[in-house]
């Protein structure tokens, strides 16, 4: 049975000020309703004024998704009564979105982009002692009201939930590379997905956050809808809600007709004519996009495709960190190896992004230099990583007590002594029990306080065992 999936991705755009007034969009250290003014509170007589930067961010997204930029655009009022809308209408784009008819490649498949438009974010509602149905009252915070949002709508071109997740990961990386989106902000990417199977109606799943959740929600829906079709039951046209804890969806409301928002042109905001020059200027100053960056990593740092892809697509700041480190330590392969295999693992363990962590390029390469200079062993360095990631303390300082590596002659003495103390094990080895060697290496290493290189211990042990 075939499946058709389309998504709408909503993202806050990280302009400094709101889309129609000069209030800051950054309310992280602000009291509720502190970042507000008569415009975003919809006071009588106030008028919106477009933040050109928000429009340009929308255009950049359109260009990155290979869209056509609309030549003449305007804003519309989407009218519905809801307390999070200060004017009881939302200023959005309806007939003339910023960009249309684009596409994004996911592997060998092309996902068509229907439109990209920008609009204002409503206020945040907080339900006190309950949810939307049970709360006695709601408190409103308009700090968020007027934050620019972009909505990206695809055609129903996806054929699997997995593909949707790949698309969202790529999209998020593109938005980060464009510098229009801050993935660290709360709920900065929200997804509505629609899914239909052969012979069934279109089902919409609203407001899912997290790419993993999108994949899970769609997978659940696919199984549910296919199950219904297998027994010839109908799949109703409806809107469903994803429960992230149960990993299931449930019906929200049955849509019998399209909601009628009575769109009109917003007469306070004049028509915007986007000339060729403007688009060309944006195109010329377009930041490097993730696919281009992967290609450059392969060429510039001689990394393989897999490594480059992981570095770029995991998180833009990981790729940035990699490049900064390479400026200080010119062995890209060593840098990427330590970064991906050890630092990243420790960070994941702490659920931390490298940008927000205590790991910094200068201290990170300090560790790589200590290894290169033979001042610490690789093995010891791997143990050091955890403490380094936890504390951010300079690896030089962390390794101080172990910084003097044992000379080979000293190690040899300990090898001889250890063999004496474990003569029975040595005999077993000679008798053919090869795994005894590993036990002996461990013993020597312990005796050296882990200051010796295991490879050297192995070499010396073999020399001793074979000479007798």
């Amino acid at each position: 049975m075939s499946v058709m999936i389309g998504v709408e991705v909503h993202t806050q755009l990280n302009t400094e000020s709101k889309i129609f007034c000069s209030d800051s969009t950054d309310a992280r250290d602000k009291k509720p309703n502190e970042n507000t003014c008569p415009i975003c509170l919809g006071f009588p007589g106030s008028k919106p004024k477009l933040n050109k930067r928000a429009l340009e961010f929308g255009m950049l997204i359109g260009l990155a998704l290979n869209c056509k930029i609309t030549g003449t655009m305007f804003f519309s009022r989407k009218a519905y009564f809801y307390p999070d809308l200060s004017k009881n209408y939302q200023i959005t784009q309806y007939e003339a979105p910023v960009a249309t008819e684009g596409h994004l490649a996911i592997g060998d498949e092309k996902i068509r982009i229907r439109r990209v438009h920008i609009e204002e974010d409503p206020a945040k509602l907080m339900y006190v002692d309950g949810d939307i149905n049970t709360a006695k009252y709601v408190i409103m915070d308009y700090n968020r009201a007027g934050t620019p949002l972009a909505e990206i709508v695809t055609e129903p071109d996806f054929t699997s939930p997995k593909q949707v997740r790949a698309f969202l990961e790529k999209m998020s990386s593109i938005l980060e590379h464009l510098g229009v989106y801050d993935s660290s902000k709360e709920a900065s990417l929200r997804v509505d997905a629609n899914i239909s199977v052969d012979g069934g109606e279109r089902v919409e799943i609203k407001n899912i956050t997290g790419f993993e959740n999108v994949e899970k929600a769609l997978s659940f829906e696919l199984v549910r809808q296919n199950g219904l079709r297998r027994v010839n039951a109908t799949v109703k046209r409806e809107t469903r809600h994803f429960n992230a804890e149960l990993k299931t969806t449930s019906a929200l409301r049955t849509k019998e007709f399209e909601e009628d928002y009575g769109y009109i042109f917003d007469p306070d905001l004049p028509t915007i004519v986007v000339g060729k020059d403007w688009v060309e200027e944006l195109q010329a100053n377009m930041p490097e996009l993730p696919d281009q960056r992967v290609a450059r990593f392969i060429k510039q740092y001689k990394l393989n495709d897999y490594t480059s892809t992981v570095l770029v697509y995991t998180d833009k700041c990981l790729a940035d960190f990699f490049e900064e480190s390479c400026k200080l330590y010119k062995k890209p392969e060593v840098v990427s190896n330590w970064l991906m295999n050890y630092i990243l693992k420790s960070l994941n363990w702490r659920s931390e992004r490298i940008r927000d962590s205590k790991v910094k390029p200068d201290t990170f390469i300090e560790m790589l230099k200590l290894i290169e200079d033979g001042k610490i062993t690789e093995r010891y360095a791997k143990e050091l990583v955890k403490e380094y990631v936890d504390t951010g303390t300079s690896p030089k300082k962390l390794a101080e007590k172990n910084i003097v590596k044992m000379s080979e002659a000293d190690v040899e003495k300990i090898v001889v002594q250890t063999l004496k103390q474990n003569s029975n094990v040595a005999e077993e080895y000679k008798a053919g029990r090869k795994e005894s060697l590993q036990f002996l290496i461990g013993k020597v290493l312990a005796a050296t306080n882990k200051q010796a290189d295991p490879n050297i211990i192995r070499k010396l042990l073999l020399k001793e065992l074979e000479s007798k």
Binding site: G45, K47, P83, S86, N88, Y137, I264
Partner: protein, 464 residues
């Protein structure tokens, strides 16, 4: 000392002959007496003083239509739903008036949100015509017309027009009404009726006063994205411009059925006088005029129905004890807060933009507007100005207005809807009386050609 005109007063203040601080309390006392007789005000500021230490309008009493926000002074737009609302900011035109040194003496009565032609849809009482208190002052800027006609002290009124709300009261009260080009005066701080047509303008005793005030309030404002980049100018300089050689047209659609023939004749007589002064006067036809009124109401009410959505008793204005859910609460507030005409227009406008109607009404009206603008533009390629009656009837009695259906009332706007929806500047000047009641003549010109209407208006004024 009796000072008759704004011009004389400002000169007397400037020369030190009169002290504004001494004069203002006297003016306010007079305003209060007028208020008792004709109710032009919703709010009077008894302590009004010059808002700046100097400026071209230093010490001049100015009234502001109540749909224009005044920081710290109640602003209701004539509606109960905004009773007690004190704006936290000044409209841009108010800032400019304050910077010019004028004294804001009060806020004038109006049809709720501008919804009316006779100032009878007023939540705080209808202003009475000083020439005959049984008759209407016209609307929606009725309070502005009323105080201007009644003021026995120098004063200029700030009014506002969407589809004729300056011309109607000017005509009915025998005053001058200047409706500028759309975008000429910033709308920032104006409580919206129909944003694509709302224009702040002036009502005054004479053409000079309107030109003087327009010079103060016009000019680009970054807070209103629809405000024009065209620079402000000293509009009083046009008062001395000659009409000799000007080409003036009388559009026949504005002199046809539905218009009081006595009014039509008086306007034609004045046009003839302009011809005698050297203007070239011709008849033209503007065949699209008949589509203006319905298209105007489609656009105006579609926009109004979204503008009024924000009034829901949550953040400002009328509030009640919170009961029920959001829908129940705001329905209660809006049921109590809005008058009958506001409700009628919200319902009308909401239908016009709903799926199934939107293409046939709302979107089509935009096409009509584009055609009407085009028709005016073509006409103004050949003519400097158009001359029409301001209103099709003489100021009606309140007792007769109550017998009119909404459609009959909307039809009173036939002279004003086309130029207003096209954003053309108009000037209404009094041209005499019929049966003791004032008659106005409307001069329409091309975008940003207020100067031509002022030049013609000044000549008409001299003819009196």
């Amino acid at each position: 000392m009796l000072i008759a005109t704004v011009r004389d007063y400002l000169e007397a203040v400037k020369s030190g002959e009169i002290k504004a601080e001494d004069f203002l309390p006297e003016a306010i006392q007079k305003a209060e007496r007028i208020q008792k007789a004709y109710s032009p005000f919703i709010t009077i500021d008894k302590k009004a003083r010059p808002s700046a230490s100097k400026g071209p309008l230093y010490g001049l009493p100015v009234s502001i239509k109540d749909s224009i926000c005044t920081n710290g002074m109640q602003t209701t737009a004539g509606s109960k739903i905004l009773e007690g609302y004190i704006p936290p900011f000044d409209a841009t035109c108010v800032t400019r008036i304050k910077d010019s040194g004028a004294a804001i003496i009060g806020k004038t009565a109006m049809d709720e949100f501008g919804f009316g032609t006779f100032s009878t849809n007023c939540a705080y009482g209808a202003p009475k015509n000083p020439l005959d208190i049984e008759r209407s002052c016209g609307g929606s800027s009725g309070g502005a017309g009323c105080i201007t006609a009644a003021a026995d002290f120098p004063h200029i009124a700030i009014a506002q027009s969407t589809g004729g709300s300056i011309t109607a009261p000017a005509a009915f009260t025998g005053t001058v009404g200047l409706t500028p080009t759309y975008g000429r005066v910033s709308r920032y701080g104006l409580i919206d009726y129909s944003n694509s047509m709302d224009k702040i303008g002036v009502i005054s005793k004479c053409v000079y006063d309107s030109a003087l005030m327009l010079s103060v309030i016009s000019g680009h404002d970054p807070l209103d994205s629809t405000s024009s980049e065209v620079k402000s100018e000293d509009f009083t300089k046009h008062l001395n411009s000659d009409v000799k050689g000007m080409k003036i047209a009388l559009p026949k659609e504005y002199f046809s059925s539905g218009i009081d023939p006595k009014i039509a004749k008086l306007v034609r007589d004045k046009a003839e006088r302009l011809q005698q002064l050297g203007a070239k006067v011709e008849d033209v036809s503007l065949p699209l005029t008949k589509y203006a009124m319905p298209a105007y109401y489609m656009i105006a009410l579609s926009e109004a129905s979204t503008n009024l959505a924000k009034f829901c008793g949550l953040r400002y204005g009328l509030q009640k004890e919170i009961q029920g859910n959001f829908d129940e609460y705001f329905s209660k507030i809006r049921t109590e807060g809005f008058g009958e005409e506001a409700k009628r227009r919200i319902i009308f406008g909401t239908y016009a933009r709903m799926a199934g109607y939107r293409d046939a009404y709302y979107l089509k009206a935009f096409k009509v507007r584009a055609r009407i603008i085009d028709e005016f533009k073509k006409t103004f390629a050949k003519y400097d100005a158009l001359i029409t009656p301001s209103m099709p009837i003489l100021p009606p009695k309140f007792s007769d207005i109550s017998k009119l259906s909404p459609i009959q009332i909307y039809n009173m706007d036939i002279m004003t809807t086309a130029p207003n929806m096209a954003g053309m500047p108009t000037l209404s000047v009094p041209i005499g009386k019929i049966d003791g009641l004032p008659v106005g003549m409307q001069i329409i010109s091309n975008h940003f050609m207020e100067g031509k209407t002022i030049a013609i208006g000044a000549k008409i004024e001299e003819l009196k």
